[in-house]
Amino acid sequence: MANGVLPVLHYFEDVQVGDEIPQLVKSPVERVQLVRYAGASGDFNPLHTDPAVGEAIGTGGIIAHGMLIMGFVGQMLSDYVGPQALRKFGVRFKGMTHLNDVITCTGQVTEKHEADGQGFISGKVQAKDQDGDIKVVGTFTAVLPLRK
């Protein structure tokens, strides 16, 4: 961040490779939530809100927006390092999420290095449901303030 007033959640020195990111367990995915998400994001693809469309294309009813699940993972990262510390965040969508699925997000720090007077950490993240089925896997890079 250009002006250097980033709120400090963790100093670079206090984060170690192998650290687990505090996991986030979400409430069951609800239909109203998908309607809300459609409006908030602007993604009105009916397969997320209209069961008839879901049946027609064989997804077994409506499925959640993949971006909602990425949003859950983003919430975990936001809680961990703060939203403006992220430099890169990417996911692959591995499975469909249905109504009432309970998504748990987890992650781990896999790398840290200093460059240009800043501390960078990278890690891997994932989201899975109550049966352990993986919905998204991804990676992130964040910049953390140095204590010294």
Binding site: N3, R36, G39, G74
Partner: protein
């Protein structure tokens, strides 16, 4: 099927002024009740200049910023009714504040089409959208992979 001639093609730029209320809507839909996304005073008390963007806020630019997205994808041969999101990646280059006016340019950077012996097909399309703010500062790159699977035409599915 995706028209491979379109790799390298950029769609017309789109523009949107990003509003604080959209952040609250998105955070509410995600179920993120962190007060920094809902209340300006709480955000400022936490050290932010304004309400910050949650990590996946750029999805708002994708759809509300570019309301022609589905039509554009259709125009290059994608069946948007069968589109699945394969991957999404953001590179955050500079802070984006509510009130900023962003310009996005989406380019098709990669496209593959495979047709099965039975006539079914699969398209994989990668787009990259580069966003600049009102001062022409690059603020965000978004990379998206779309996967489109089509059954064989003879199939009587649905």
């Amino acid at each position: 099927m995706f028209d491979k001639e379109k790799v390298g093609y950029s769609f017309p730029p789109f523009r949107m002024t990003f509003e604080r209320g959209k952040i609250r809507e998105l955070a509410t839909a995600i179920g993120d009740d962190n007060p920094i996304y809902h209340d300006l005073a709480a955000a400022m008390a936490a050290g932010y200049e304004d309400i910050p963007l949650p990590p996946t806020a750029p999805t708002i630019f994708t759809f509300w910023g570019n309301t022609q997205l589905w039509e554009q994808l259709t125009s290059v041969g994608i069946n948007v009714m069968r589109i699945l999101h394969g991957e999404e990646e953001y590179e955050y280059l500079a802070p984006i504040q509510p009130g900023d006016t962003l310009t996005g340019v989406t380019t098709i950077v990669e496209g593959k089409s495979r047709r099965g012996k039975d006539g079914s097909s699969m398209d994989i399309l990668t787009t990259e959208t580069r966003y600049t703010n009102q001062d022409k500062v690059p603020v965000l790159n978004a990379r998206t992979v779309f996967v489109v699977r089509e059954p064989a035409p003879a199939s009587s599915e649905a």
